[in-house]
């Protein structure tokens, strides 16, 4: 069903990176995600929208292995992904969190360096022996982390403790940390929640920049203007089910989408009140 739209948008015609089929997540009696399919191609920005409690974050958690889906399959670059966070990151899918989860008492630089963990190999013995190979790797890690901080515009905050940084910077730091894992696809869970309009604009510039560096992006947002301006394709979830998938124009004009938002008493502004227990 995605083929038609992709044809209409030639810039999103790369190879398939992520292919999730029939993802279902059941919490007791609650079907938080019900048989959702999503395909993401190389260099594509896909938006994920839906009213509060629609299951967007849960879907992310299923993709990244933080939850083990009740059923369904996630394939990444053609190979099936086991629901294990480490395997997912190694395969090349990284994420940020809706409620920022930085390592609060580490510096910005250290936070990003932790992101390099899965791409480096120094073991305990190597670290204690402190040989030239270890020092080279450590130096490279530091340099890459600094480079990523500059990429997201935090080059000057490297030595700040994450907990002391402004909210918007923390969101960008989380993106830098995710980028440090060398992903092919990055999942952003409400990257502009709590931001002012100027910061929001910067965030969309940043996402374009990430896309231009060759990554694919899936982004959850409540800010419709942000989503429709940013995304090549939008998937709307309602009560765990995929309501519609299509270009921003199609989704925007679909009466069911509008009804879904109005029906649950939500508008398209930033919505920050989270469903309790709905986050990881």
């Amino acid at each position: 069903m995605t083929v038609v739209e992709d044809a209409a948008r030639p810039q999103a015609a790369g190879e398939t990176v992520l292919e999730a089929t029939g993802v279902t997540m059941r919490f007791g009696g609650l079907l938080a995600v019900n048989d959702v399919n999503l395909t993401v191609r190389e260099g594509e920005i896909v938006g994920l929208i839906g009213p509060n409690g629609a299951g967007k974050t849960t879907f992310f958690n299923c993709l990244t292995g933080l939850y083990k889906p009740t059923s369904g399959q996630v394939r990444f670059s053609g190979t099936p992904l086991p629901p294990k966070p480490r395997a997912v990151v190694r395969a090349g899918m990284a994420r940020t969190f809706q409620n920022i989860r930085l390592f609060a008492n580490m510096t910005a630089l250290e936070n990003v360096m932790v992101g390099r963990y899965c791409r480096t190999s120094a073991g305990a013995l190597t670290s204690v022996l402190h040989g030239p190979k270890f020092r080279r790797e450590e130096e490279a890690t530091r340099a890459r982390a600094q480079e990523l901080l500059e990429f997201v515009g935090l080059g000057r905050s490297a030595e700040h403790l994450a907990r002391n940084m402004p909210y918007g910077d923390q969101r960008r730091l989380e993106i830098a940390r995710a980028l440090a894992t060398d992903p092919k696809l990055i999942l952003l869970d409400e990257p502009t929640a709590g931001m002012n309009p100027q910061e929001t604009r910067q965030a969309s510039d940043l996402i374009f920049k990430i896309r231009d560096s060759g990554l694919s992006v899936v982004v959850i947002e409540h800010d419709m203007r942000f989503i429709f301006n940013l995304c090549d394709r939008v998937l709307c979830l309602v009560r765990g089910e995929a309501l519609i998938e299509g270009t921003p124009e199609e989704v925007q004009s679909d009466p069911r989408v509008i009804e879904a938002y109005i029906g649950t008493g939500e508008d398209d502004d930033e919505v920050e009140d989270d469903v309790p227990g709905g986050e990881v």
């Binding site: 933080l66 966070p85 480490r86 990284a94 930085l102 580490m106 932790v114 963990y117 204690v128 030595e159």
Partner: protein, 571 residues
């Protein structure tokens, strides 16, 4: 640090001293003079008390301590108004002087109490003691009349490199001197007074900001700091003139420190609560004992000690893996309970493997006595020898060996801390789920921390067995694990200096304060409760922990961050 109350934005402004009560300064000066004069006079009628303070114009050790405090106060007063006024724009004279005045007054009150308790009443206190007491009180009063000021931040202070290095060296020398002096004190009263002195001087130095300066200088000259600390530790046996009693205390402090540093990796870095850690020390010690040449050793194999060290450490590490692998997958509380159980299982196993139930490995409750001294590279650790005219006995030999061990453990700790592995540990401690989602091998790293900790403890255990000459199950009770944890919490989790300090305090105090023995636990409990209330980050706080516990303190957060920046720039 206590002096961070200084608002940071005041740094740029020129420090302005508001006038306090004009009487304060002369009052303080009078106090200093009285203390010095009083200390030269006799304090006590009875010469046998407090190491003889009865002779006029010949001050005893405790009187010299009072004079030192008075001289420190004098420097502060001269910095307030006088030739050292330039220094006064950096040092927080008022707060420091308050600490010194209060401390010295307490000190003198204790002296008077000690003299009257030990002899027959106040009648035995000589005028010198009262004169000094009045002087101390005057210093305290004057300090409370001095104005409080905003000052420049001491962490901004820059001095020529030689001066910074010198100040580090002086601090280390002072530490060495005080440690040697305190251990040499024969009676508990003198020891307590010496402690009061140490705390008075330390709080004074911290309040004044001088410590901030030295610690920053230490950051800038890290190698010098490390070398100076080791030099001081190395020189310690030479101050003891062959005193086996003190050197044996020092040796056990080192074993305790090495073990605490190992536990510091597990608790301080990875954030895993291990309540049975002493069992790993025990397994190292038991391995060394059973493989030793003791007549009671139960295993025929007698490998050289270097092999024993490896075997002991590896056995401990394997035990760590066995305990850790099923429990580290679940959350922290379970680990605490399982390790608690493991510690007891270890002790009971050692208690019961006596041949009646199962094989005879450990001689049960009797343990394995008669472990011979170590022989390494043809050197027998039991032999005495004289170096530079100073006699170094058996315990000094072990002290040097243990010093190397502690050095190695510290090196391992700090290198791990500043590596990919260490960052992974801290990330897990901070937010396990997020760490996992970033691709950190959570379970593997926890297991690694656990087994490295066990390995280091096992290593220390093998030396401990030879140093003690015997192993028995009752050395490895739960209380010891609790003390190790207490040392870490008291000193400052995740820090090196703090944990060493905590270990030293917790091991040395009970040895010197034997008359407390029944109240020992009560006192430590009280100490910990007070610490948790007033300084939860420990005596030496790592920057991180300091922030964790004082989240509401915005000024502190900013200040710590600025400090951090300054240090980074200095690198």
């Amino acid at each position: 640090m206590t002096d961070i109350e200084t608002p940071v934005d005041d740094i740029s402004q020129a420090p302005v001293a508001k006038p306090g009560k004009p009487i304060a300064w002369p009052l303080g000066l009078a106090g200093v003079v009285l203390v010095i004069v009083g200390s030269f006079l006799s304090w006590s009628y009875d010469a046998s008390i407090l190491n003889d303070l009865s002779i006029n114009f010949y001050p005893g050790g405790l009187q010299i301590l009072a004079i030192i405090v008075a001289l420190l106060s004098l420097v502060l007063l001269l910095a307030e108004k006088g030739p050292l006024v330039k220094l006064g724009s950096w040092l927080d004279v008022t707060l420091a002087l308050r600490a010194l005045g209060d401390g010295l007054t307490l000190y003198m009150v204790l002296v008077v109490v000690a003299i009257s308790v030990e002899s027959d009443g106040l009648i035995n206190v000589n005028p010198g003691g009262y004169v000094t007491l009045v002087g101390a009180a005057l210093i305290a009063v004057s300090a409370y009349l001095l104005p409080l000021r905003h000052l420049r931040d001491m962490s901004e202070a820059r001095m020529p490199a030689w001066f910074e290095i010198l100040s580090i060296a002086v601090l280390m020398a002072a530490l060495l001197f005080v440690a040697a002096y305190a251990l040499g004190l024969p009676d508990a009263w003198s020891f307590i007074l010496c402690l009061v002195f140490v705390f008075t001087a330390a709080i004074g130095l911290f309040r004044s900001g001088a410590m901030t300066f030295v610690s920053h200088a230490g950051q800038r000259h890290r190698k010098v700091l490390t070398l100076a600390a080791f030099a001081a530790a190395f020189l310690f046996p030479f101050t003891q003139n062959g005193s086996d009693a003190n050197m044996s205390i020092a040796g056990s402090v080192l074993v305790f420190s090495a073990t605490a540093m190992g536990l510091n990796i597990v608790v301080g870095l990875a954030g895993l609560l291990d309540l049975g850690y002493i069992a790993f020390l025990g397994s190292g010690a038991y391995v060394a004992a059973t493989l030793s040449n003791s007549a009671f050793a139960t295993i025929g194999w007698k490998p050289p000690f270097l092999v024993v060290v490896l075997v002991g450490a590896c056995v401990a590490a394997v035990l760590g893996l066995i305990i850790g692998s099923p429990t580290l997958r679940v959350s922290g509380d379970y680990l605490a309970i399982v390790t608690l159980g493991f510690g007891e299982i270890f002790r009971f196993s050692m208690f019961n493997l006596d041949g009646n139930n199962g094989p005879n490995l450990t001689n049960g409750p009797n343990g394995i006595p008669g472990i011979p001294d170590l022989e390494l590279f043809g050197f027998n650790f039991g032999s005495e020898h004289t170096l530079a005219g100073i006699e170094l006995g058996r315990f000094s030999n072990y002290y040097f060996l243990l010093l190397i061990l502690v050095g190695g453990v510290i090196l391992a700790f700090s290198r791990l801390n500043n590596s990919r592995i260490g960052r992974g540990w801290v990330a897990i401690r901070e937010d396990e789920k997020a760490a996992e989602a970033m691709g950190v091998n959570v379970f593997g790293l926890k297991l690694l921390a656990f087994s490295i900790g066990a390995f280091l403890a096992g290593l220390a255990g093998t030396i401990k067995a030879h140093q003690d000459g015997a192993v028995s199950p009752d050395q490895y009770i739960f209380l010891e694990s609790a003390f190790l944890l207490a040392a870490i919490v008291l000193g400052g989790m995740g820090t090196i200096a703090g944990v060493l300090l905590g270990a030293t305090i917790l091991k040395m105090l009970p040895e010197k304060l034997r008359f407390f023995s029944e109240y020992r636990l009560l006192l430590f409990g009280l100490l910990l409760v007070l610490m948790m209330r007033f300084r939860p980050e420990g005596l030496v706080a790592s920057r991180r922990r300091q922030l964790e516990f004082h989240e509401e303190d915005e000024a502190l957060a900013v200040a710590v961050e600025e400090e951090h920046l300054v240090i980074e720039e200095a690198k």
